[in-house]
């Protein structure tokens, strides 16, 4: 009862739970729950043989949060910043701390610029992007796209129509802008030729 001191009764008794659920209560005593001093496989040896680790060589100016005193001794080198997106990223890291929304909004903007840049770059490479197959859309037909959704009361079905718009809209927009630019350019040239005559 909520309005009296007692807690509402459980649907199954503790004895019943202990009898039916494998391992029930094995970690009931907090001393069995992983924490200090159970934090290591071997409490005497974390494996580390340093107090401060040797430093990884910095092969290019590695961006870092200005909340750090210095570049951490180890870091990833997966995708160094490049192009316009790289400039935005470097600015976001150099100027704003993690506490500033500008830091994160700039990084999100850089992500979108990176997508466009990389896609355009791929078109002049041996392996151009395929915006369709890279979405794995084929599985809509082979793995029950319709049957996985219809009649299942899924909450996410409401927003699923938005997904293709979000994926396709930048492409459609990009194609429209390119078409308009080419058209303007060719019209301008035709205009020049007409004037020459």
């Amino acid at each position: 009862m909520t309005y009296t001191p007692e807690k509402p009764a459980l649907p199954r008794s503790i004895e019943e739970l202990r009898a039916t659920i494998p391992g029930w209560g094995a970690d009931l005593d907090p001393k069995f729950r992983p924490a200090v001093p159970q934090e290591r496989l071997d409490p005497d040896l974390s494996g580390a043989h340093w107090e401060f680790p040797e430093r990884q060589p910095e092969k290019w100016p590695r961006e870092r949060s200005i909340e750090h005193q210095f570049l951490t001794p180890v870091f990833g080198t997966a995708c160094p910043p490049r192009g316009a997106s790289g400039k935005i990223r470097r600015y976001a890291y150099a100027k704003y701390s993690e506490a500033r929304a500008a830091h994160w909004l700039l990084l999100i903007a850089a992500d979108r610029v990176d997508t466009v840049e990389s896609t355009l770059r791929s078109f002049v490479s041996r392996r151009p992007d395929n915006p369709l197959t890279e979405t794995g859309i084929r599985t809509e037909f082979t793995r029950g796209g319709l049957s996985s959704r219809v009649g299942r009361k899924r909450a996410d079905v409401v927003h699923h129509p938005l997904d293709p718009v979000i994926v396709a809209a930048p492409w459609v927009l990009g194609a429209a802008v390119t078409y308009a630019a080419i058209r303007r350019l060719t019209r301008g040239r035709r205009g020049e030729q007409t004037t020459d005559r």
Partner: protein
């Protein structure tokens, strides 16, 4: 695999990773998994997710090469690698907070290093690949026990440990009513772990019936499909004698459905660090003085969370990335005792060359997918 932009990934030849620090190892991946939090990257939600990045932070493999200062691993060793990258000796590691290591992530101070995540976690390539660079090889990886199956081991590198950690942060005491939001892999393991800690009742909330069926069968939980109720909070109050749960575990995170406005502003327009629908339901549905454990991954930007209610109800909010290696000794005992069988939730095995399809199946929840495992070509 490489990320090509929101909702797009493909297989690409990349240079084999190399030793960049004396304590690095190169591991040949034999099993990797796609995690729910990989979907946040895949959907373009996490800031500084760069095109060309390889995802994947749940993996096991075979040591292929070690750096000059590696003392505890040799080529040929079978290892399981926690998703956290950590040094073992900084202020945080010294206190067992391996997920918060301060020596591995120059890009941010709020989070430690994670394989194959956005650059806000250090810019390390991930393991949905044939080979992966493993920093601090003397500290992070553990030898795969002979008796442990690789499929069980790969899930222990994140999902199982995180689910268990979620229940642990709930500070469950005997007979507690525990409500778990989300019946994905972490939610399922959190529900299962709640029993180990003596829960009296475990209720799992989701909108996918097939996942709820798994929660009932695998985790012995009561289940609620929130789409069947006008107001899931009122329903939870009703079935708990109008008191509310003692503990709530948010195993959903940034892409919670159930509120279109929140979903659009957060997941689509990226103007929040994640859609806080599940977290707000957790705040509303627990009793006063309850504990909320947050295991769902959220982005760094603020989210519209009902903090006033949390304050007025006297709630304890606990959260962190899981310090995986700290959890292993006890989890190994539970797997050995048969209390946990991690691989029971694997539904799909996907060759690396079909990674785009694997992501779409998991993201769109096609084919009753719960947990897909990636089998690299070299495995």
């Amino acid at each position: 695999m490489v990320y090509r932009g929101p909702y797009r990934v493909r297989v690409e030849e990349k240079d084999r990773p190399s030793i960049e620090h004396p304590n690095d190892a190169i591991v040949r991946v034999t099993r990797a998994a796609i995690c729910g939090s990989d979907l946040h990257l895949y959907h373009g939600m996490m800031p500084d997710t760069r095109v060309g990045m390889t995802f994947g932070h749940e993996f096991v493999g075979v040591v292929d090469e070690v750096g000059p200062s590696v003392e505890h691993l040799r080529p040929g060793d079978r290892v399981m690698v926690p998703f956290n990258i950590f040094c073992g000796t900084c202020f945080y590691c010294a206190r067992g907070m391996y997920a918060n290591c301060h020596n591995v992530n120059p890009n941010a101070t709020a989070v430690g290093g994670i394989y194959g995540y956005s650059h806000t976690t250090g810019g390390y390539d991930g393991a949905q690949a044939e080979y992966v660079r493993v920093p601090f090889a003397d500290v992070g990886p553990s030898l795969l026990p002979d008796w442990m199956d690789e499929d069980d081991a790969v899930l222990l590198t994140d999902a199982v440990a995180t689910g268990y950690f979620g229940a642990q942060l709930g500070d469950i005491t005997e007979g507690d009513v525990v409500v778990v939001f989300g019946a994905g892999p972490v939610g399922l393991y959190a529900a299962k772990s709640a029993w180990l800690m003596g829960a009296g009742r475990v209720i799992v909330i989701d909108h996918l019936d097939y996942r709820l069926a798994k929660a009932a069968e695998f985790a012995h939980a009561e289940t609620c499909n929130f789409t069947e109720y006008d107001d899931i909070v009122v329903h939870l109050k009703k079935i708990t004698g109008y008191l509310g749960a003692d503990v709530a575990i948010d195993a959903v995170g940034a892409e919670a459905d159930g509120n279109l406005l929140q979903h659009v502003t957060a997941a689509k327009l990226k103007r929040q660090g994640g859609s806080p629908v599940a977290l707000n339901w957790a705040i509303d549905s627990v009793r006063k003085g309850a504990t909320i454990s947050v295991m769902g991954a959220y982005g760094p930007i603020f989210s519209a969370i009902k903090f006033g209610d949390a304050m007025n109800k006297g709630l304890t909010l606990r959260m962190n990335q899981c310090p995986v290696k700290r959890q292993w000794p006890r989890l190994f005992e539970h797997v050995k005792a048969g209390y946990l069988k991690p691989s029971e939730i694997i539904t799909h095995r996907i060759p690396l060359e079909h990674i785009a399809e694997g992501y779409h199946i998991f993201s769109a929840k096609l084919d009753d997918c719960i947990k897909p495992i990636i089998v690299p070509n070299a495995a």
